[in-house]
């Protein structure tokens, strides 16, 4: 009976989201017409952000629930295709939508570590974890650690690692929301943060995972349309064919040829000499004891960028020009393993109806993620070509309007160091966010498309924030409160506590975001190494090594977590350096050590009980229930 009802529900899902997509496109076109008739940009910004948050709120209200299984795991009824979409927007943050293309623009070939790292992790997830977690079928990732290894200690370490890995990430998303809303609505950043907070809470508070899932699907559709539209027009403009993902191959060749000319240009050499001179002057000023300490930080930053600008131009396609081979491989590996160990992603595979669905859902997740990741290098290449072909060699007084516009907010900076009135490559700096944000203007699109990109960025930030927020508040309410403190709590009490903690966590994140600490962006990168070394080994060994026991898991998680944290902090602040590995790839040490510790300590201590061994076996194949099963729905 339940099955029939849910089947009718699935049939409608396609139609509902199809109509929604149509309505979204019609809405953008209507706003475009309104813009032509004189609707001011600020109003367009308000309409876009207001309408999209309204839609999310509506989905939140429709999906409100008072059932535990719907609140925590969307009733385990999300079809694999839609779970893939939801995972896509859960995964892609404001940074992937707005910053990824810029990262590739800046790092050239070496930036592809992020492309491979943030997608390849899904292969690990598919073969090592996703289907098994679904078979286990509880509510949180610490649940699995608690059931598999027995006792509260593994669960509590899991809670600590989940919160450590998720919280900085959450702050970054809330910050992203604040930046987008304040920039497009022209409001104060703090007000923007709290507007965004309202957007996050309206969908997660009433309906938990169920509401978040259906909102994330809606958010995916907005963000992907917003991402693909400008670059498709750009491709048409530069190559005559609107398929950026294929056409940027030609552009890469043109970039390479143009760079050879630029490298040979004596004016560029002159610019670099000027920068080198400025770097030396600033360096002397820094050493001068008469310089006040307050100015030193600013001077040091200026010196750093001057020295960077004085370096020879490194071709866009040349491998390992900005990151050595070892670091690129290590970074790719850490990002992959971290992806497969992040609890807010793993949690999504609890929400599908079966093991079979979990397997295909990982495929759909990656498919929908690739739609964006496949396109990011094209974005970067088109922007690079636009810069090289139009900007460089242009009179500084006659630069296109978009450079002036984005220079005002600091995303584009131009300094005519050799005073010849003409722009050289060495005189231009583009912020990472500039690529995606400026592309609609470069492609000559109306402002409404910029509004769409803003709405897409907001959707990406909100969807990721929702997933993270649920992860943190569920770790506190389900794992800490219900499983450890008060296992006899009633369903109503559990849901109430969950919701109170949700609001509390969101409030703390918003409060932290208002400080705008620059370290936050770095801490997000740390989350991958932490998740990779604290979670991944214990989860994988839990399924794949029957001999792994509680002592091994506790030791492995602790050692992996601490080692990674030590290297992160040591290499970032105290000059620690093992084999030249950079801070961002710190997990490269913690991951293998975590695995080895679990393996070794487990074998030095008693084997898991017969009951646990049977539990592990039952997790390994789809048929039947798991060994020790206590569903409380």
């Amino acid at each position: 009976m339940a099955k029939q009802r849910s089947n009718a529900f699935f049939d409608n899902l396609g139609r509902v989201y199809g109509m929604y997509t149509g309505a979204l496109i019609a809405f953008v076109i209507l706003l475009g017409i309104a813009e032509k008739m004189g609707l001011p940009p600020q109003t367009i910004g308000y309409i876009f952000i207001g309408v999209t948050i309204g839609v999310y709120a509506l989905i939140g209200v429709i999906s409100r629930t008072s059932k535990i299984s719907e609140y925590y795991v969307a009733g385990r009824s999300v079809p694999s295709f839609f779970n893939g979409m939801a995972t896509g927007s859960d995964w892609m943050s404001a940074a992937s939508l707005i910053g990824l293309a810029g990262t590739i623009y800046g790092l050239g070939y070496d930036g592809l570590a992020y492309i491979m790292g943030w997608t390849g992790g899904y292969v690990l997830l598919a073969v090592f974890l996703g289907p098994y977690l679904r078979k286990f079928g509880q509510y949180t990732i610490p649940d699995f650690l608690g059931a598999r290894y027995g006792g509260n200690l593994p669960r509590l370490i899991g809670v600590a690692a989940a919160i450590t890995a998720s919280f900085a990430y959450l702050i970054a998303q809330v910050t992203g929301v604040g930046i987008i809303t304040s920039r497009f609505l022209g409001i104060n950043f703090t007000v923007g943060v709290f507007v965004g907070l309202a957007g996050i809470l309206v969908c997660s508070l009433l309906g938990g995972m169920k509401a978040v899932t259906w909102t994330q699907v809606a958010q995916y559709l907005i963000l992907i349309i917003a991402y693909l539209t400008p670059v498709t027009v750009m491709s048409y403009k530069q190559t005559g064919v609107p398929v950026p993902q294929i056409m940027y191959g030609q552009i890469l060749q043109k970039i390479d040829a143009r760079e050879k000319q630029i490298i040979a240009d004596p004016l560029e050499a002159q610019v670099r000499e000027k920068w080198a001179l400025e770097g030396r002057t600033l360096g002397e000023k820094l050493k001068d004891p008469a310089t006040p300490a307050a100015e030193k930080e600013e001077l040091a930053a200026a010196r750093k960028s001057a020295v960077a600008a004085s370096q020879p131009i490194r071709p866009y396609l040349q491998p390992f020009a900005r990151m050595d081979r070892l670091n690129m491989l290590a970074l790719t590996f850490c990002l992959m393993v971290g992806t497969a160990g992040l609890p807010h992603i793993l949690m999504r595979y609890y929400t599908v109806p079966s093991v079979k669905d979990a397997r295909s859902s990982v495929g759909w997740s990656l498919f929908f993620i690739c739609a964006l990741f496949f396109t990011a290098p094209a974005y970067a290449a088109f922007a690079r070509w636009e810069v090289l072909s139009t900007l460089i060699g242009c009179k500084i007084a006659e630069l296109p309007a978009w450079t002036v516009h984005w220079a005002q907010v600091g995303l584009v900076s131009i300094k005519d160091v050799n005073m010849d009135g003409i722009l050289q490559l060495g005189e231009l700096t583009l912020g990472a966010d500039a690529i995606t944000l400026a592309t609609p203007e470069i492609a000559g699109l109306p402002y409404v498309i910029s509004g769409l990109v803003a709405a897409g960025g907001l959707a990406a930030a909100l969807s990721t924030a929702d997933g993270l927020l649920l992860t943190i508040s569920n770790a506190l309410s389900h794992d800490l409160y219900y499983k450890v403190i008060d296992p006899s709590a009633s369903i109503i009490r559990r849901l109430t506590i969950s919701r109170v903690l949700l609001v509390f966590t969101a409030g703390v994140a918003a409060w932290a975001a208002t400080y705008r600490l620059t370290i936050i962006v770095e801490l997000v990168a740390w989350a991958f190494s932490i998740a990779a070394s604290a979670f991944f080994p214990a989860l994988v060994m839990g399924v794949w090594d029957k001999r792994a026991n509680k002592a091994g898991a506790v030791a492995g998680m602790t050692v992996g977590f601490c080692l990674t944290l030590c290297y992160l902090i040591g290499s970032r602040f105290y000059g620690l350096d093992w084999f030249g590995i950079k801070t961002v790839s710190s997990g490269i040490f913690g991951i293998p050590v975590g695995f080895l510790t679990i393996y070794a300590v487990s074998r030095m201590t008693a084997a898991p009980s017969q009951e646990l061994q049977e539990f592990i076996e039952s997790v390994r194949y789809p048929r039947g229930a798991v060994g020790e099963s206590s569903h409380d729905e």
Partner: protein, 92 residues
């Protein structure tokens, strides 16, 4: 809900797990080859240029991604078949 299921015998389970391990190993070998392998040998691969893309660059930007998606769907399909072969699939 403590289902006492028809206990799966050890031999079936061991054979099932061995096939799973083999598929997992092959999947991971391909995964490592297209990502780490292609990164390691990028200079050599870049000598080949297809449609404007140096092959090494293409593998990092798109090629490996296509392979990842295919790998996962292939894994899902093959595992479902193995489940049926050993009669360990979920009851409909």
């Amino acid at each position: 809900m403590n289902v006492t299921q028809a206990r799966v015998d050890k031999a079936t389970l061991a054979a099932y797990w061995a096939e799973n391990k083999r598929l997992t190993t092959i999947t991971l070998l391909v995964w490592a080859a297209v990502s780490f392998g292609a990164t390691f040998f990028v200079e050599a691969l870049n000598a080949v240029v297809i449609f404007g893309f140096p092959l090494g660059y293409y593998m990092g930007a798109q090629g490996s991604l296509i392979v990842f998606v295919l790998l996962i769907f292939n894994y899902a399909r093959t595992m479902n078949l193995i489940d049926r072969k050993y009669n360990l699939h979920e009851e409909e």
